[in-house]
């Protein structure tokens, strides 16, 4: 009963926090809300017309939504890169950033779920997937595995920080016997979610572009490069605009993680390029389409080559200690790395998997305005949720709000 009262007070206090702030904050939230409303409007058009409002066709049946979903699962998984050193390696430097990282994970996961729902042909019958009420094709279908692990990860990433913040809100210390096992579990779980998402594509023998052994590890490497890059950028913003103190060495350590992951990502890219282009087979056609165009169809060329050059540039910058430790350069490198991986792992992975089709026909894919609208709306939703969570968490962590027994 008492806990309920504390919870109620926490909710009220957090509502109080998130509705007050500087002008910039209100502007940020208002613009996010506007984008979300635009996204909702576009989604309503899509619901009415059916998915023909998007650019997807029978040949390329997954497009912008699933691309963003794939990328964001990686970002969510990467939050664990902060949890692991803190609790497993007992490195205190990361402790401050853990809650922020888990907030990003929650926001990213909610975005993933939103993208999946946006992509469904029949969102009103999604209850068919609930085991017990519907039919759950576990363990055959990798999609069911994905549903389980993503929701489990969301649960973990909501409950553990919530527990910590709840305790801190009351001015008490959080018991390590409660959150450390959960934190450890989330480390393995994070690797699990991204491997399972990779297996979704890897297990399709019909799509040779995805059906290779390196897809899972590649996903992990690119996730651990893009996710912490985003975390660095977010922490930089938090440092500037709030009272939350994040030390330089935390940022530097995360940057180290990003560097190593980006390097491994590049090595894997080289390995894939070698396999596709050294002795090209019929199965290499998708790679040809992606990197060089096929039969004059070159829609993805500017995207992938931008992505690769930004990727290489970012990795090179990050490799040099002098550049990496210069924060302005670091933030720039993280930004371009994030964008590069978003392209490469998003539609640079999903679209070429479908082109050419099973009988060699090429039908290119261009997202429509509706699709872009919904996508932007969902990204705004993620940013909105993250801002809310972060603001509350920061206020609790800096001791600005505390539960006062009335």
């Amino acid at each position: 009963m008492r806990r309920l009262r504390v919870f109620g007070s926490l909710v009220k206090d957090s509502l109080d926090i998130i509705t007050h702030g500087s002008k910039k904050y209100h502007l940020w939230m208002a613009s996010l809300t506007l984008v979300m409303l635009v996204g909702m409007y576009c989604y309503s058009i899509q619901l009415e017309q059916g998915l023909s409002a998007t650019g997807m066709t029978d040949r390329v049946s997954w497009g912008l939504y699933i691309s963003n979903f794939t990328f964001l699962v990686g970002v969510a998984a990467a939050a664990v890169m902060l949890v692991m050193p803190t609790y497993v390696l007992k490195d205190i430097d990361f402790k401050q950033a853990v809650l922020i990282g888990e907030g990003i994970a929650v926001a990213a996961l909610i975005m993933c779920l939103a993208f999946v729902i946006a992509d469904m042909g029949g969102p009103s019958v999604l209850w068919h997937m609930i085991p017990g009420i519907g039919v759950f094709n576990f363990p055959n279908s990798m999609l069911t595995w994905d549903v389980l692990v993503l929701n489990g990860y969301l649960f973990l990433n909501i409950t553990i920080p919530f527990y910590i913040l709840f305790r801190h809100y009351q001015g008490k210390k959080s018991k390590s016997s409660v959150y450390v096992p959960g934190a450890l579990l989330s480390v393995f779980w994070a690797v699990g979610i991204h491997l399972v998402t990779a297996f979704l594509y890897q297990g399709l023998q019909a799509r040779p572009f995805w059906n290779n052994a390196l897809l899972g590890p590649r996903f992990l490497a690119s996730a651990f490069a893009a996710g912490p890059a985003l975390i660095i950028l977010v922490l930089a913003i938090i440092r500037t605009y709030t009272a939350f103190k994040i030390e330089d060495k935390t940022l530097k350590k995360i940057a180290m993680v990003v560097t190593v992951a980006a390097q491994i990502n590049l090595i894997m890219l080289v390995s894939e390029l070698f396999k596709e282009f050294y002795a090209p087979t019929h199965h290499s056609e998708s790679a040809y389409y992606l990197f060089f165009g096929l039969d004059g169809k070159t829609a993805l060329l500017p995207w992938i080559w931008t992505a690769i050059s930004l990727n290489v540039l970012a990795t090179v910058i990050l490799t040099f200690h002098k550049l990496r430790n210069n924060f302005k350069v670091l933030f720039f490198a993280c930004l371009i790395l994030f964008v590069a991986i978003w392209i490469e792992k998003g539609f640079g992975l999903i679209i070429p998997g479908f082109i050419p089709g099973p009988y060699g026909k090429i039908a290119e894919y261009t997202p429509t305005g509706i699709e872009i609208g919904v996508t932007l709306g969902i990204w705004a939703l993620g940013a909105f949720i993250f801002t809310i969570l972060a603001k509350t968490a920061i206020k609790i962590e800096t001791g600005a709000i505390r539960y006062n027994k009335k």
């Binding site: 029978d58 363990p139 055959n140 096992p181 026909k361 090429i362 039908a363 290119e364």
Partner: protein, 207 residues
């Protein structure tokens, strides 16, 4: 203490996960031919038959190469059967100037002059019957016996069911079209034609 507990539970759950992760397959066969072989061992027949779909046709049963099936009869289809109603006299006597000209529009375009002419198949003395290369009588309903003289490969395929058109139903008893149901014996060649449709959406999709 914490780490050990976590590790124990972790290993336990991993083992459980491994055990439940095997895909469930129903009645696994290595290949379709294995399945066909196994499941057709005691084939008893099915309750589905083609009778209701072919009962409106006039068919007759034939057995060739050990295979029995139905073919549509031909004599009731030919408009001007029986031929002897006009061909009352031998052919040579009919080819005079003052008699009506019939079948003038049938131009024989089948093989070449060395191989085929009218009397290769038709019996000039008894136009109600056909005759084989060895002068045996062949009934009009069984005109395929003539075709099989040269086209034995197609004939074998037809008897097996790989050539020609099956009528209406896949279920036994089989009813198949005969040669002359599709091929005009005087001009068996098929003309080329245009396809039945053109898909404009596909063109848009691939722009």
């Amino acid at each position: 203490m914490n780490n050990r507990v976590v590790r124990k539970y972790g290993i336990l759950s991993f083992i459980v996960l491994l055990c439940i992760s095997c895909k469930h397959h129903e009645a696994e066969y290595h290949s379709i031919t294995d399945k066909i072989e196994t499941e057709s061992k005691d084939y008893q027949g099915t309750s589905i038959s083609s009778y209701e779909h072919i009962e409106d046709l006039k068919t007759m049963e034939i057995t060739e190469n050990g295979i029995t099936f139905l073919i549509p009869t031909r004599k009731n289809e030919i408009k001007s059967y029986a031929c002897t109603e006009c061909h009352s006299k031998p052919l040579s006597e009919m080819q005079s100037v003052d008699l009506k000209k019939a079948h003038w529009n049938i131009k024989l375009n089948h093989a070449n002059a060395n191989t085929m002419n009218c009397v290769t198949c038709h019996n000039g003395n008894d136009m109600d019957e056909l005759r084989s290369l060895t002068m045996n009588t062949i009934d009009f309903n069984k005109s395929y016996q003539l075709c099989s003289q040269c086209h034995n490969k197609q004939f074998t395929d037809w008897v097996g069911g790989a050539h020609g058109k099956r009528i209406n139903s896949w279920a036994p008893p089989r009813a198949s079209m005969t040669c002359v149901n599709c091929h005009d014996p005087h001009k068996p060649h098929f003309e080329s034609k245009w396809p039945e449709r053109y898909n404009t959406q596909k063109v848009n999709e691939r722009k």
